[in-house]
Every structure is written in C-alpha cells, then in structure tokens.
Symmetry: C4
Subunit: 236 residues, 4 copies
C-alpha cells in the first residue's frame, strides 16, 4: 500500500465509496447498458483521482475495485484494485483534471438521446427552463476524437472552458459531464439526457419556441444561488 498520509488516505477511502455508489445512479437512470459508462472523482487535496475499472459488470463494482490514478492517468501501484485496468476513458478524465482545476468529478456515458444529438454533431438548443437552470444555455458539441491519446480530453476542455454548460456532446461519441464533485457530474449526466430527450421529442412535433436570452440568464443565475439547500450548478 502506497502512503499519501492519513488525511489523503481517508479522502481516498471515502471517494472509493462514493464512486462505487454513484455508478448505480447511471443504471438507475437508464444512462448505460452492460459495462458502458464511467464516473471518476478527484481526491481533495491531492493530485489523484478514483475511477471505475474497465469492462466490469455494474453489479460487481465495489469500493475496493475502484482504481486510484495520478493526474497523468497512471494507476498507483500496490493500492486496492491496482491489479486491474482502469476505464478505457481514463486518459480523458486525467486530461480534464490536469487542465480544469475547479473540476472535482467527471462522468461519461453513451446515454441514448444525448448520443443521438452527438451523432448529428448538433448542439441542444436551450428551449426549456430546466435547461436554462442547469446548463445556462445550449449544450455544446466537442470535436470528433479517437480514443487512445489526449484528443478526447482536449476536446472536452476546449468545449467547456469558459462555458456555462457542465455537459459536452463529443461528436459521434456521447456526452461527458463535469462537476464540482463526482455527484455533481453525475447529476449533469442525468440532466443532459433528460433535456436531450425532451428537446428531441419536442422538435419532432413541430417548431420550438426559443427562450429569450434575458430569461436564460435570469434562470441560470437564480439556480446557481437560490435553488436547493445550498448553491448549485456551474463551477465557480
């Protein structure tokens, strides 16, 4: 067992629990099939993150088989789960953590409706108030990139840097979401599929009514500051 000091060890242990448990939100919300999809979370106060192993059944995910990585995506040896391969999207998660220090969680799925917009390379227009609340405008598209090097990570960071949206539709691929922590990124993954579905269905039925920009701004600002028991939404 490598040692990062007791404070970090406690944070890693808690994060292993969180990440294992948060994967069940992906299945419960119908965002993934089989072993697809992955959630990661940054270890507070350390250059480390915890991510799911590659190609393992959702029913078999447990804190002890979550994998601890450094911010280059290398597995930390001699830690629980380090005998397995991490998610094949680990390089993309690592790139985001290296380049967006405000991000504490990353999620990737192939959820149906968000991936459908991605297959057309089309941003989701902001026509419902829930979308203005959550994403503050349209959900953008990231450039097409092949897995295996930094191009996916770079595509995510380019699309989301300076953007209100915590979700990006990687072209021909699917959604990646970020958040202040892993749970917040999972929420964004749930919400991006929800708005992708609603706006798709709305447009199948006829012409959409745009939301005025002033209304979008007002809704987004309120949601950041008023909704819930504590402030929500965009990363500060």
């Amino acid at each position: 067992m490598s040692s990062f000091g007791p404070r970090v060890e406690v944070a890693v242990a808690r994060l292993r629990d969180d990440i294992a448990r948060l994967h069940s939100e992906l299945t419960r919300n119908g965002l993934v099939v089989w072993t697809a999809g992955n959630v990661s979370g940054r270890v507070p106060g350390a250059d480390l993150f915890v991510i799911k192993p590659s190609g393992v059944d959702y029913a078999d995910l447990a804190p002890e088989n979550m994998i601890l990585c450094d911010l280059d995506g290398n597995v930390i040896p001699d830690t629980p789960g380090s005998d397995r391969s991490p998610s094949s999207d680990t390089a993309a998660h690592a790139y985001v953590y290296r380049h967006m220090p405000e991000v504490g969680g990353v999620v990737h799925t192939h959820s149906t409706y968000a991936t459908a917009w991605a297959a057309r390379g089309e941003a989701i227009p902001c026509v419902i108030t829930a979308m203005a609340d959550e994403f503050g405008g349209p959900v953008p598209v990231g450039t097409f990139a092949i897995i295996g090097d930094d191009t996916i990570g770079r595509g995510i960071v380019d699309a989301l840097t300076g953007h209100r949206s915590r979700a990006v539709l990687m072209q021909n691929h699917g959604p990646f979401t970020i958040g202040k922590d892993a749970r917040d990124a999972v929420k964004a993954a749930v919400m991006v599929e929800d708005v992708a579905r609603t706006v798709h269905i709305a447009r199948q039925g006829g012409e959409l009514i745009p939301l005025p920009q002033a209304a979008i701004d007002s809704l987004f600002n309120r949601y950041q500051n008023v909704y819930g028991q504590a402030p929500q939404g965009a990363l500060k």
Copy 2:
C-alpha cells in the same frame, strides 16, 4: 412548535405523511429525475399547505422534512422541516391556493412529453377517450413566466379558472396540475404525461381523428359521476 390547535395539528401530521408518500408516485411513474418535481397539499380547515423541501433527494423525503407554509408561501417557523428552504416553486403553489379555494393539491413536474408540448407552446388536442374522461377537452397552455414572483402562479390560475382541465402546460417550462386534494393532483400529473405521450406518438404516425364535442362532453360528465367507487375528476 407553533400551535394551530389539535384538529389542525392532526391534519398537518396526516398531510406530511401523504405528501412525502405521494412524491414516490412521481418517481414510480417516471415523471421526474434527480430532485425535480414537487407536490403540495392544502391543510383542510386552515390557511396552510405542506410542500417538499428544495433540491432534496427523493430517497431522503420523509414526513418530518416536509415544510409547512402559509398561503403567502412563508415557512411557518419552529415546525418540523422549517430549517430548510421549501421548493423553489412554493410561490406558485401558494398563489394557486390563495386564488382557487376549491384546490386542495398542486403538482409540478418536468415530465418529458408534457414538457415537449410546452416547449412548442401547443395545447394537447383531445383525441382519445381517456383524455375526454380525465380532462374534458384539450390540455391548455399557460403563458411563459419567469420563476421568482407571482407570474407563474397567475399563469396557472388564468389558464385553469373555468376550464375543465386540471392540467396546464406552462410554456417552455412544464406541466402544473391541480386537484381536490394532493393525490388527485398527482393523478392529473400522471394522466397528463400519459396523454401527452400517446397523442404525440399518434400524431407522428399520421392524421388524428378528432373526437366530436358531444362525445367529449358525454365522456367527461360520465367520468365525473360514475367512474370509480366515488365521483372523480373536475373540481366542483
């Protein structure tokens, strides 16, 4: 603990149970994701209503964290749950209770198909008998309104006053439903999504056959008076 006398205290306690439990109907029927959606109920015999806290997980909703409000939407201090913020839609619920004394329950969701009609600002035409039974005609659209003052509440009341429908599609936002009590408003929320979905899918496949007005009237009147073990439907 504030005191409204034993009769009201008993009614509040029972209503806390009902409101907490009825939220599970929203998830069971697939009307909400994450923490979206809210149910409230008027306290019989008092100028009070009970509503969900803002931004709390559905799994964590319990009678003791439901929030008691007066009809201006102010939280009653020193009551269970009063340390939390009520639903961000509380002002709209309060407005309805103030202006529609026959209403005993209000529900708001962003359910997919009803919200899709709302994103086009299009009323749902009455082309199936279940819709004539339940809503007595088309489901109307309410004017676009920004959260934060009385405009949403006023939009609901304007659309539903003197209308058979217990559901309104607030433009670019989603459905609000009313009922003689909270359970009746939840039923309307379930049914409006069901008819929104069926009529959307029907129209995707070709031209709809309108229901004759006389048939709609006959179905609605029968359903009010004959269906079930007791009269149903529109508020008297």
Copy 3:
C-alpha cells in the same frame, strides 16, 4: 353468499386468484397507469365472469375484491366484492362473453402505442413475423363507440368475429383483446402493444417491407400448432 354449487364455487375462487394476479402483468408490462385497464375471465361451466372493481389502485387488488357478474354485467349480490362497483367497462366485457362463447378472457388497456394507432383509426399492418405468429395478419380497428351502452361490446364482436386477430383497436379509445382464458387475453394485450410499438417505430424510419400472405398463413398455422408446450394463439 349466493351458491352455484361446489364445482362452480371452486372455479370462481380460482378465477378470483387468477384475475387479481393477472392485473399485475398489466403494470409489469407498462400497459396501464394509475387505475386504468381491466382483465376479466369467464367462469368455466357457468354464465358468470369475474372482473376488476372500478377505479381501485393496482396495489390494492386482491382476490376478495374482484367482482362476480352474470353475462348481462349485473353484479351477483352477496358475493365478495359485491359492495363495490365493477369496472366501468363491464358492459363491454359482458357483451363479448354473451356473443362469443369461445372467449374465456377479455382485457382492455390504454397502452400507449396501440392507442396511438387507435387515435388515427389505422389498422396495424402485418410486417413482422412475431405479428403473423400471434395475430395472423393486421390488427383491425373497431368503430368509434361511447361507453355506457352495448356499442363498445358490439364494436369488439363485429371486428373480431371470424378474424384471426385476438386484438382490436377501438377507434379513439384503445385496445381490447380476447383469449381462450384470461391469461391468453393478457398475452394478446402484451403482444399488441409490442407490435404496435415496433411497427410504429419501423415506419418512422422509412418504408416497410410487406410480409407475403403465404408467409403470414404459414407462420400463423405453425404457431397455432407447434409453438410452446401446447398449442397457442387463435380461438378454435
């Protein structure tokens, strides 16, 4: 307690169990919301059938609140459940039992896709082998009829008499299915929604390939005689 002799009483008791339990197949297969939908079964060897009470929660259905009726749809007094109103569709079920002696079960739902075809008054074309197996051709449309007299029952009987299909789409209303017993009619209700959904989605994507009539005949005949552990399908 009325008495029909011990043989009939045993058959009624068994049927109450079956009918209560079969309603859970309607919810499990997503065919109904709230209290919609109903299943009935003919009592073997007697001019009686058992049906669901009107407007009662699916969770509260139990053998002892199923309702025993004669073939005119009258509740048999002083039997379990006879203090409640039977399903508002009881007259239609009774009409079918009176006029189609080979029918042992009737089911009615407002399942989404079947009702969508009904809202256009359009028969489902037979373009998939599962549909040829189960229904032996297109699923027909029944004439529009208002609840409250024999017009719905007559519409069902007119559409299904001499037809291979055990399902009919009552125009602007929804599907009714029949079977050799209640379970067989529930199967037909599940399958008609399945084919209604598949054929709707298929046609949204482009032109359908028709099945040759000889192939439909061959599939239907095989399925009647070979499939399963005992013969299936159309009523003999």
Copy 4:
C-alpha cells in the same frame, strides 16, 4: 440419464446454470416480452448445446428445465428437461453451431428497435463510436426466411461469416447474435438494441455524420485488444 463422461457432464451442468441465468439479462434489458427470445450455449468439448424450452415463462426458467440438444437440434433423451419441446428456433441455433465452429453462444430476440430496422430490411449505419467498438461497422441484414427448416440458420451464417458484426437483423423478423460464449452473445444482443435505438433516434432528428472508415477500423481493433480486463469483441 445419458452419459457423456464426467468432464462433459460437469460442463453441461455449468452451462445449464449460465443459460438459465442469462435469460434474465434479456428481461432486465427490456429485450423481450412474455416468452419471446432465447439464449443457447455450446457445450465446450462436445457436439452439444443447451437451449431454453419453448413458450415457458421467464420466471419459470431454471437450470433443470434447460434442454440439451445435439448439433442437429435433436433433444438428448433422458436428460433433465427432455420431456419438453425446445425453443422453436432450435433448428436455427443448431445450424449456426454446425457451420460456425468458433461460435459458443447464440441469442435471438424481437427487441423493438433492432426489429424495426429489420422490418425495413435496412442495415444500421455505423455512426457512433460504441458501434465501431462493438460491431466494427454496420449491422447487416439477413434474407427473409420462414421458420421450420434451415433457411433461418443459413441466412444467419451467410450474413455473419467473414463479417466483423456479431449481430444480424433477419428481415421482417428480428436480431440474432453470436459470441464466443453465451454471455458474449447476450452482450451483443444488448448492444445491438442499444445502437439500433440510438441511431434510429439520431436519424429522426436530421442528417447523421458518417464515421470515417479509418476511425472505425482503429476503434474496432483497439476494442478487440485493449478494452476490459481481457480482449473483447469479434470472434477470432
């Protein structure tokens, strides 16, 4: 009880468990209704396979009622389950095992979206990376064939021999999938429905962006060799 020697008997017993359990993946993933669909697996080291009985409820499937067949599809007498009829698709499964020695599992469903493409006789274009990973290109269509002789089996083998895809859409019928074992074929059945749904919905919304062939090749090759804890995908 016939005897194939202790090694084969152990393999058969394990396979009965697997096949019974894998059927629950079909229902859990929403690929089948009622008794439709079937999974089989080849017995390692013997000219035998295990398949589901015909027309039996999913809830009643258990290791001891799975049926052992030879590669001509004949039931092996005096083995558990041999008093029942095997799946009506047994001849097609047997044909695949006889002609594709690398195949260890076969699955057939009428899953909604895959069957919708089949009803149009249209291959699913490869426009999302998950599809390139899993199927290495478009999912092909097999020629229309009537159940009852070798034409279905031949259609499957003709379409999949020398093809990267482990799934074929039999025209007007539905998907068949193959795999290195039964679990791998079930994975292909889950994934083909997932991509059939996503690509259908994507195309309803507008024009799809094709994936470059070089990207498809790269994704497929990586997925075969890198993804998961062991190599995945196409049969070697």
